[in-house]
C-alpha cells in the first residue's frame, strides 16, 4: 500500500508535509514541556 501511495506525488507530498508538521508540533509541545519542567520538577511527583 505504501509503495502504491509513494507512486503518487500528491500523496507522497502530503506524507512529507505531515512529517514536517509532526516535527513542528513536537517542537511546540517540547518547548512548553521544558518551560513547565524548569519551573516544577514534575519528575519528583510522577516520572512518566
Amino acid at each position: 500500500m505504501f509503495a502504491f501511495f509513494a507512486q503518487y506525488r500528491g500523496i507522497s507530498f502530503l506524507n512529507y508535509i505531515s512529517i514536517l508538521l509532526a516535527v513542528v508540533m513536537f517542537g511546540f509541545v517540547m518547548s512548553k514541556f521544558l518551560r513547565a519542567y524548569s519551573v516544577v520538577d514534575e519528575v519528583a511527583v510522577v516520572p512518566f
Binding site: M1, F2, A3, F5, A6, S12, N15, Y16, S18, I19, A22, V23, M25, F26, V29, M30, K32, F33, R35, A36, Y37, E42, V43, V46, P47, F48
Partner: protein
C-alpha cells in the same frame, strides 16, 4: 508524563524512516544508509531526502537520550517507598493509566532500534537476525509488564467508589501500550527468519492485538457515550487526548496486517484481507482525525498557542 516525550520522539524518528523505506527502491529488507542509491539520485531527490535523514538522526538520538534519562528517573522513583502503590491505586479521572506510557515508549524503542538506528549503524542492520532473540526477550518482558500493570490498573478502574463518568480519552493510554507492544511483536514476526521466534512472537502478538482491539472498542463506546451524555467537551487541557485514537488505530492496523500475512499461508480458513485491515484502520484514523479537528477547532484557534503544557498535548504529535 515524561515517557510520552520519548514516545513522541520515537514516533517522529520512524516517520522519515517509513517514508524512505517505501519511497526509495532499495531491494529486500529494511532501508539503510548504504542502500540509498546516492550516485543516481537527482538534485531534487537530495533536497527531498537529506532533510528527512537529518531529522531521523536527530529524533533517534533524542529518543534514546530521553529514554535513558527517564529510565534513570523512573528507577529513582520506584526506589521511593510507597510511590508506585500510591500512583497505581488512584483511579480518579483514570490518571493511573499514565503508567502504561512507560511500556508504550519502550515498545517504541524496539522499533526505533530496528529501523532508524539500523539505518545509521551498519552493525545493527547486518546483525538484525542475530538480534531477533534478544528482541524477543525484550518484547516478552514488555508483554508481561503490560499485562501485569493492566490487571493492576483494571482492578482500580472498576472499583466501587470510582466515578467513571469523569474518565476521559487519556484512559486510552493503556490501549496505546497494547498497540505498540503488538507492533513490536509483529515486527519480530515480519523480520525474523527463525520459525520458533516467529511463532512465539505471533502467539503473544495475537493476544495483545485481540485484547487491545476489543478493549479499544469498549472504551470508545463508553467514552463517546459518557461525553455525549455530559453534552459538553472536557476541559481544554484534556482535549488533545482525542487524538490518541489515531496512532492506536494505525498501529493495530499495521500489526494485524503483519500477523495476517504471516498466518494466512499456514491456515485453511480465510482471514480478513491484510490490505483491507491496514487500509481500513488508516481510513478510520482519517475520519476520526478530521472529526476531532472540527470538534475541538476552538482549542487550536484560541487556546493552544498560549496554553501551558499538559501531557495530552503529546497526543497531537
Amino acid at each position: 508524563m515524561l515517557f510520552q516525550a520519548s514516545l513522541a520522539a520515537g514516533g517522529v524518528a520512524l516517520m522519515p524512516f517509513n517514508y524512505l523505506q517505501y519511497g526509495i527502491d532499495h531491494g529486500k529488507g529494511l532501508i539503510t544508509w548504504a542502500k540509498i542509491p546516492w550516485d543516481t539520485m537527482t538534485g531534487a531527490q537530495y533536497a527531498l531526502y537529506l532533510p528527512l535523514i537529518a531529522l531521523m538522526l536527530a529524533f533517534t538520538v533524542l529518543h534514546f537520550g530521553l529514554t535513558g534519562y527517564f529510565l534513570w528517573r523512573l528507577a529513582k522513583w520506584l526506589g521511593t517507598p510507597g510511590a508506585f502503590g500510591g500512583f497505581i491505586n488512584v483511579p480518579q479521572k483514570n490518571q493511573n493509566a499514565g503508567i502504561l506510557a512507560i511500556v508504550a515508549s519502550l515498545a517504541m524503542t524496539a522499533n526505533v532500534f530496528w529501523g532508524p538506528l539500523g539505518f545509521f549503524v551498519p552493525w545493527v542492520s547486518s546483525n538484525l537476525q542475530a538480534l531477533m532473540l534478544p528482541s524477543l526477550i525484550f518484547f516478552g518482558i514488555l508483554w508481561v509488564a503490560l499485562l501485569l500493570l493492566e490487571v493492576k490498573a483494571l482492578r482500580t478502574w472498576f472499583g466501587k467508589d470510582v466515578d467513571r463518568t469523569q474518565f476521559n480519552f487519556i484512559w486510552l493510554l493503556d490501549v496505546s501500550a497494547f498497540a505498540l507492544v503488538s507492533l513490536a511483536g509483529s515486527g519480530i514476526v515480519a523480520i525474523s527468519t527463525n520459525t520458533s521466534i516467529q511463532e512465539t512472537a505471533a502467539v503473544a502478538t495475537i493476544i495483545t492485538l485481540v485484547f487491545g482491539f476489543l478493549w479499544l472498542l469498549y472504551k470508545l463506546v463508553y467514552l463517546i457515550s459518557t461525553h455525549a451524555k455530559a453534552a459538553k467537551l472536557p476541559d481544554n487541557p484534556l482535549l488533545p487526548a482525542f487524538f490518541l485514537v489515531i496512532p492506536i488505530a494505525c498501529l493495530f492496523g499495521l500489526a494485524a496486517y503483519r500477523v495476517v500475512n504471516y498466518l494466512q499461508p499456514q491456515l485453511t480458513v480465510d482471514l480478513p484481507d491484510s490490505t483491507a485491515l491496514v487500509v481500513g484502520s488508516y481510513a478510520l484514523t482519517i475520519v476520526w482525525g478530521l472529526t476531532t479537528l472540527y470538534l475541538i477547532r476552538d482549542y487550536f484557534l484560541t487556546y493552544f498557542r498560549r496554553s501551558d503544557f499538559a501531557p495530552p498535548q503529546w497526543g497531537l504529535v
